[in-house]
Every structure is written in C-alpha cells, then in structure tokens.
C-alpha cells in the first residue's frame, strides 16, 4: 500500500479483495477503473497504489471469483476488463458478512467503557 500519505488508511490484506469484488458488482471494469472507483467511492480516504492492485486481481482471477477478457474502453482504448463470476458473487456475500460481523464486534469492544 502507499507509504506516501500516512493519513490515508492502510488497508488490511484481504480487504482489498473485498473492495475489488464490491466494485465489480456494478459491472465489468478494467484495472485503472477499479483503482479510481475505490479512490472516489471512499472519498479519497483509501489510496491504493495502482500497481499493487494487480496481485490482488491475479489472485481473484486464479480463484475464479472474477473473469477477465480484453475489450475496448469508453474512449476507444484497449483495456483488460474484469467481471464478477457467480462464485465471486457468493464470495462477496460471504466476505461482506464476515466484515460486518468483525466490525460490529470490534465496535462493541471499543464502545464498551464499563469493563
């Protein structure tokens, strides 16, 4: 992850996978588009080094959660588009549930000031 800006949140490993899967739910997207989407949607809180996206994409592709093929972007440039597979959708649901449970649990511990 980027070391340039300490104020930006550092992403835990594995959560990047979750973010990519979530981003792709809106339709197929190429690498640069995914990077931008994450940045924008998180209101620039999450800064992803674009190059570091690719190992995650390869991992997801090897697990067949996303599938890829070459296509043409909106302004007629060649790009490799990734889309969510059925398995990917299921995985997204699983991961999201896990994340929610995790954050809720952490939240409970943090707001518990009595003990």
């Amino acid at each position: 992850m980027s070391t340039q800006d300490q104020e930006r949140l550092e992403l835990l490993q594995g959560t990047l996978d979750l973010l990519i899967l979530r981003t792709l739910i809106f339709g197929p997207q190429h690498g640069q588009g995914i990077a931008r989407a994450i940045q924008q949607t998180s209101a620039d809180e999450l800064l992803v080094e674009h190059g570091a996206l690719y190992p995650a994409l390869q991992r997801l592709e090897s697990r067949r959660w996303i599938a890829a093929e070459w296509g043409v972007s909106t302004n007629n440039r060649k790009a490799r588009f990734y889309r969510l597979t059925k398995l990917g959708r299921k995985q997204l649901v699983r991961e999201t549930t896990k994340w929610n449970r995790l954050t809720q649990a952490i939240g409970r511990v943090l707001t518990n000031s009595e003990s």
Binding site: E49, H50, G51, P55, R77, K78
Partner: protein, 872 residues
C-alpha cells in the same frame, strides 16, 4: 492452483493500457502530457516491481529457474568444449564401469533365482567324517534315508550333475558330446518349474525298469532340432541307446548351471549298487522347506538321520556323521561373492577419483569466472542461486557422463559375459529397473559431490574480495590451490589402493600360472573319450580300442608321446576311493584312508614327463582281471608309507582286491590352486570296480605347436569309430587357463581400473601444477629477478606437486593395508601386506608424479621476470 499461464507480454500490455487510461484521465483534468505521464507512473507505483511480481506468481518459478539454469549451463559448457569433453569422458568412465559391475552383482548375487519361492529352496550336503569338507557331496543311500524319514522338507530331489552323453541319431547329424544332469523325477516340481512343451518326469519314469526318457533344454532344442515341436515323443540316441524325448524346458531355465543341455532320470540311469551306496559321494541334492520350518531345523533333522545311519555302519569309515545346508543361491554363486564385491569396490574407487578430477576441473573453471560471479553477487544475485547454477552445471556434466556411461556399461557387460563362461547365472545378467535407479542415483550423487566440493570458492566473502583483488595478491587463489591439492591427495590415495590391489592380484595370478603341475604342460593336447556301453560292453573291446588308438596316435609324426589317464593334472579332482594296506596293521573301526584314484595306460607317465621315482610302470600284457599292479604318488608314500619302501607292498581296494605297488610316480596337482594330494594309479586295461573304465582323457605331447595335431588325432578316432564323439579338445595351457580364468580376469580388470585411475591422477596433478605455475607466475618472476636459480624454481614447483603426492601415497598405503585384507581369499600364496608390491607401487607412483610435474616445472623455469612483472 493451476490456471492458464498468462504470457508476461499480455500482462505488460495490460499495464501499458492501465497507464494510458490514467494519462488520458489526467490530461482530461488539465495536465500536460509530461505531467500526466509522471503522475500516472507515481500513482501506479513501481511498474517493474509489478511485472516482477506477476512473473514470480505461481509455482512456475522453480521450473523457470531450472530451465534458465540449464540453458545458461549448456551455453557455458559449449563455450569450453575441452573442459566439457574431458569431464564427460571422465565421468562416463567411472559411471559406466560402476554401473556395469553393479549390473553383474545385481543379476548374479542379488536377484532371486527364477524358481517358485526361491527363498525356500536349499542345497543339502553331507559333512565329510574327517571334517575337511563341510559341503561334501551326497551318497545315494543316505539320500534315500533322508527322503524316507525327513519331515522338514516338503520335497527333496537328487541330482548327478557331471554327466556327459554322446548325442547322435536323427538324420545323419554329427554326433556331439553334451553335458547332462541326471535327476530324480521330482526335481522340476521341487524347483516349481513346468516344462514349456510336453511333460516332465513322473515317478514311473524314474525306475530301472522304465523306458528311457529325456527332457531337453530349450537351447539344445533350438540349436539341434530347429525348435521343431514334433521332437517331443520322438526318440534320440544317447550313447547309442534310444531315449524318448518327453518334454522341453523353458528358455530361461537352467539347473544346476547353463552348460546342462538335457536331464535324464537318475534312478533309471544309475546302477542299483551305486545309487544305494552310503559311502560313495557322487550326488548333490536340493530341497524345498516345509512352510514354517527353518533351514536350521530341517538340516538338524537330516543330521540326526545321517548320524543314525553312520552308527549302524560303524565299520565303514566313509559314512558321514552329519548333514549341512545353505540357501540354493549361495550354493550356486557363493564362490563369486568376494571377487565380485572386490571388483565393485574397485569401480567405486574409480568413480570417486573421476568425481574428484571433475571437481578439481570445476574449481579451476570457477577461478576463471570469478569476476563474472563477483559482479553478479554485487548486483544482488543470491549465493543460493549461484550454487544452484553451479549444481545445474554439474548435473548437466553428470547426465552427459551417465548417457555415455550407459554405452560403456553395455559394452563392458557384453565383454564380461564373453570372458567369464565359468560364472554361475551368467544367463541372468541383464540391466533391469534396479540398475536404472542405480544409474540415476550415481548421476545425482556425482553431480552433488563434484559441485559441493568445488563450491568452496563460492563463499560469500571470497566472491566480493575477487573484485578487490589485483593479480599480485592471491589469497583466494591460494585457497583454490589448497582445495585442488586436497582433492589430489584423496585421488592419489585411492589410486594407490587400486594399484596395490591390482599388483597383488597380478602377482597371485602369476604365481598360480607358473605353479608346477608336476608334468609337462607345453605342447600337450588333451581330449575326452567316452565309450558307449552299447558298443563296448565287454572289457576286452575297450582294451583293444584303447590299445589300438594309442598305437595309431603314437605313430603320427611329431608326436613325442601319448597316454591315457582319467583326467590330466589340473583338470580336477576326478574321484577318490578308500583303501587299506595289506602289510600294515588294520586300522581301528571307523577310521579310513582314501586317496585320489586315477587310471592310466603304461605309457602315460613317460608321455607327460611325470618321473617314475622308484620301480617301473605297468606291465602292458597284464590286462583285465590279471592286471594287479598299482603305482602311487610321492606324497602317497610320504603319508602312508613313511620311512619304508612301498615297492612290493599291496593295497586292498575296490572290492577288496589286492594290487601290488610296482612304482612311485612324481607328484602332480589335480588343481593348480590346490595343494598336492596322494594319488594312486591303476592300469586302464584292468577290471576295476565296474570293469574296464569306459572313459578316459587322451593326452598327446608334441615337439612343436600341438594344436596342429588336433584334427589328425580326431580323424584317427573317427576311423576307429565314426560315431564316437570326442569332447573338450584342449591344450594343457587351455586347461590351466580355464582353471585360472577367474584369477586372470579379476587381475586384468583391476589392473585396467588401476591404470585408468593412475592416468586420471597424473592428469589431475598436471592440472594442479599448471594452475599453480599460472597463479604464481609473478611471484616466480620476482624470485628469479631477486636471484633464484633454475633449481630453486624447479624445487618450488615440483614441491607443490610432490607434497600432495607423498601425502596421498602415505594415506593410500595405510588405506591399502587396511582394505586388502578383504581380498585375501582371492590371493594365492601372497600376503595381503606383501611388501614387494607396496614398494613397487610406491616407486611407480613417485615416478609418474615426477613425470606429470615435468612440463609445468619446465614452464616455470622459463618464466622471464620482465614479462611476468609486466603482467597484471
């Protein structure tokens, strides 16, 4: 995780596309081209790193690295063809020789016999009552008792393995002598083998009253009968008697050895009194253990039965008291264990020397590449990768050596089979899966050994110091020289061990060959005659044949003498018999004397140059029952007539007939490697126990090359009897050669290994010294400039070579003293620590070392100090 491998070019294209899109977007936001480019690069991060990570993803890295190493290794080896060729040839020699010998050891000694459950098969023996032969042959009468009473064996079979027949008949083919074995009907079932065609013997065939039957081997069926299946149930003539062929054995089957071409039922062939005798040890036996019974238990039971029989015949001194046994495979190949393992160890030494040589070459090669390696290390190449590359290079060399080694091994095996017809199970020698595994193991072991011993120069600190070092300092080079000298010491040590072994075997063989047999051996021809009973049933017929033949043969020009004897000296034991001396007091009951029995014609002793020390030879006119003379050997007199004149005394033997001692002949050895035993000679024209002997060996002496007489003599035999086949037409030198075949072979092979290793060691020494001179050229130049003389330079260089030479020699001598102990069973009248051999080997090694040092030393003395100092 297995996914379709994406090409790196595909990924690079994606990265390019990504950057292009980002640049577009930033330009859309108002940046200039260059600003957009650098911003896009920044937000991407390290492109190269991404590409590297993609490249490394997955488990392909290992395979990729290996492929790369192999490619670079091949390229590097191709660039130095001399080094590559030398290494591959050296390794091929070592790997080929070791693989060939391992094949022989595996096929002959380790592979189980091809019978059913061969681990349950046992060779059974009697122990001779005087204790001298623990694995003595068996008497038929004793066997009969074993068969009847034993419970520990599920099956016992009797075999008489030294039979010969004159095979004739079936359409005018020439008669030939064939080796055969008589066996009890259940031999094949005991071994668990079925015939390929027809049937094997039944109990009904194995009786005196049955029709004569015979089982053929595959070999003779193919060779003489063209593999025609209709030969089954036809009749062939053995010794002019008709035998019905009832079956053919499979092609892989041999018992007891591969020279046996047919089997006949023993109870049908042997006379009743011979097969029932309990003191005449003419047979061998093999048995199959009952399930759950150990060999020791079953043998102990047989010993009890034997002892009981012995105690019932206490007056007969030749009945054994106990039985003995060993696993069938030991019985067949036991004699070859030590020689084969010694040869295998020798090839192991040769292989080790080859590896050391290659390692030394690799060290030298590493020195030449040290700058390249240093730069690579500085650029971040891990030492592990460098080691892997080094190992891969060694593996390539080793694989090349293995490939060439297989060809060499094949050739060696073919030669081995041709050169050792005396070896048991020779038909089983072939390469199998175990040999392939062994070969692969050798290839890897050689690669690991060579690369690890030579990789010392890849030590981390050394790599970087090479960059700093100038030619004037040579600290790392020193370490390399010391390493190579260390390798050389081990090489020299192993070479000395091999040389000592070879020297001992050679000396032993020479002693063996020049042992005096007690008779003339130059230009003597021998051949075996055997008169079939059908035509020569009467003693008088045999006598007239022998006499006529001898007369004709003696009349040939260039024949200096001819005689008949049971077997010539050096041809084997023959047989022995018990006897008593009439004029001596009778021996206590249970004590017996026996001596080797020979029958000979009166002219035999003169013909073969055996001196008659006392008395005279047989009377020619005394024949058949009237022949009552016996001639005894010198050692017979020493043992049984100490201090008295034996002439005129009488021996009681062979059916308690009395024979008068008329002469004393000089000693002859029955086997060249065995000590002299007492012998008694009976006239061949006499009626011995079974009448006039129906077979004998004709010995013919000539004054020049005797092999030219082979054909004329055989023609004479043909004239007398066209159907008579002679066997084993050999000169005495060939007879001796046959009995010393194994000793000669072992000596030759070990000598070849020793010579090869000496050459390798000399080459290694030469290489080390050349290296030293090249490394220290500047130093030598300085010394010469400061006033060193030629002699000083010579001493410096030669010392560098001779010191490891001497240390290696010392280690080798110590090693040899310890190891040659194991081959003492192969040595004849030589001590394993024979000082003459050790001295000779040491001298040889020093001379060779000096020779190998000569050229590099001369080169050193030619160093021009000005030129040397200018070199940087």
């Amino acid at each position: 995780m297995f996914w379709q491998k994406r090409k790196p070019s595909d990924f690079n294209a994606e990265v390019e596309a990504h950057l292009a899109l980002e640049v577009e977007r930033l330009k859309g936001q108002g940046m200039s081209e260059e600003e957009a480019q650098s911003a896009a690069q920044r937000s991407f991060g390290n492109v190269t790193r991404a590409q590297e990570r993609f490249y490394e993803s997955g488990r392909w890295m290992l395979w990729d690295t290996l492929r790369q190493d192999i490619r670079y290794g091949l390229r590097g080896l191709a660039k130095s063809p001399g080094f590559t060729a030398a290494s591959i040839l050296t390794l091929a020699l070592g790997i080929g020789a070791t693989t060939a010998l391992f094949t022989v050891v595996r096929s002959v000694l380790l592979k189980p016999l091809p019978f059913k459950e061969p681990g349950r098969l046992v060779r059974v023996y009697e122990q001779s009552p005087d204790g001298k032969s623990p694995f003595n042959w068996i008497a038929g009468g004793v066997f009969a008792q074993w068969k009847k009473q034993s419970r520990g064996f599920s099956d016992l079979a009797l075999v008489a393995p030294w039979m010969q027949y004159s095979l004739s008949g079936a359409g005018g083919q020439l008669p030939e002598k064939v080796r055969a074995a008589e066996c009890s009907w259940n031999l094949f079932s005991t071994l668990g083998v079925k015939p390929a065609l027809g049937r094997s013997f039944s109990a009904a065939d194995d009786q005196l009253s049955a029709n004569a039957t015979v089982v053929l081997s595959w070999g003779i069926w193919q060779r003489r009968y063209g593999g025609d299946p209709s030969i089954v149930n036809q009749t062939i003539l053995l010794d002019a008697k008709p035998y019905a062929v009832i079956g053919i054995m499979p092609s892989w089957f041999t018992y007891p050895d591969s020279s046996i071409q047919l089997w006949t039922p023993v109870y049908h062939e042997e006379k009743t009194e011979e097969i029932q005798a309990i003191d005449s040890h003419d047979f061998t036996a093999v048995g199959r253990l009952q399930p759950g019974v150990t060999r020791e238990e079953a043998t102990a039971e047989l010993s009890v039965i034997t002892r009981r029989l012995h105690d019932q015949h206490l007056d007969n001194p030749f009945v054994s008291k106990a039985a003995n046994s060993r696993p069938l495979i030991d019985g067949m190949v036991g004699d070859f264990k030590t020689p084969l393992y010694v040869l295998l160890a020798a090839t192991g030494c040769l292989l080790l020397i080859a590896c050391l040589n290659v390692a030394s070459l690799l060290v030298a090669r590493g020195a030449a590449r040290r700058r390249e390696l240093a730069i690579r290390a500085a650029l971040g190449g891990s030492r592990w990768r460098l080691l892997c590359e080094h190992l891969t290079e060694s593996l390539l060399l080793s694989a090349g050596g293995g490939g060439a080694g297989i060809l060499l091994a094949n050739a060696l095996i073919q030669w081995f089979i041709a050169a050792r017809p005396d070896m048991s199970r020779i038909e089983a020698i072939r390469m199998d899966g175990w040999v392939a595994v062994f070969l692969l193991g050798l290839v890897f072991a050689c690669a690991f050994f060579a690369s690890l011993t030579s990789s010392v120069s890849l030590r981390g600190g050394e790599i970087l110091s090479s960059l700093q070092e100038s030619s004037r300092s040579h600290s790392a080079a020193n370490a390399r020289v010391r390493l190579r000298q260390g390798l050389l010491i081990i090489e020299v040590g192993l070479t000395v061990v091999l040389l000592v072994g070879a020297g001992l075997l050679l000396k032993s063989y020479e002693r063996l060959r020049t042992t005096d047999l007690g008779c003339v051996t130059r230009n003597v021809l021998t051949m075996r005659l055997s008169l079939p009973e059908a035509k020569y049933g009467q003693g008088a017929q045999r006598v007239s044949f022998y006499q006529g033949l001898l007369e004709r043969v003696r009349s040939l020009p260039s024949v200096q003498g001819a005689g008949l004897v049971r077997v010539v000296p050096g041809q084997g034991y023959g047989g022995d018999s018990g006897f008593a001396i009439a004029e001596h007091p009778p021996l206590p009951p249970g004590k017996g004397q026996n001596a080797i029995v020979r029958w000979a014609d009166p002219g035999y002793f003169k013909a073969l140059g055996i001196p008659l020390l006392r008395g005279k030879t047989f009377d020619e006119n005394q024949q058949l029952d009237q022949a009552r003379e016996v001639i005894i050997s010198e050692s017979f007199v020493r043992r049984f007539f100490p201090g008295e004149d034996p002439i005129g005394k009488h021996l009681l033997t062979i059916g308690h007939r009395s024979f008068e001692v008329v002469g004393v002949a000089g000693d002859t050895r029955f086997q060249i490697s065995e000590p002299v035993q007492p012998m008694m000679y009976f006239p061949v024209y006499a009626n011995l126990l079974t009448g006039v002997p129906p077979w004998a060996t004709l010995a013919v002496r000539s004054d020049h090359d005797v092999s030219s007489l082979a054909l004329p003599v055989q023609k004479i035999v043909q004239e007398f009897d066209p159907e008579l086949a002679v066997g084993d037409v050999l000169t005495m030198d060939q007879v001796i050669g046959k009995s010393t075949l194994d000793a000669g072979f072992d000596a030759t092979l070990l000598l070849a290994f020793a010579v090869f290793s000496l050459v390798l060691a000399a080459v290694g020494l030469f290489g080390v010294l050349s290296y030293v001179v090249a490394q220290r050229t500047i130093e030598i130049g300085i010394r010469v400039a400061l006033g060193a003389r030629k002699a000083d330079v010579l001493r410096l260089v030669v010392g560098q070579g001779m010191i490891p030479g001497f240390v290696g020699l010392g280690l080798g001598v110590i090693g040899a003293l310890g190891l040659t102990r194991f081959m003492s069973s192969l040595l004849y009248e030589i001590e394993p620590a024979d000082p003459a051999t050790f001295a000779l080997v040491s001298a040889l090694l020093i001379i060779v070392a000096l020779f190998a040092s000569y050229i590099p030393a001369r080169r050193a003395t030619k160093v021009d100090p000005m030129v040397a100092l200018r070199y940087e």
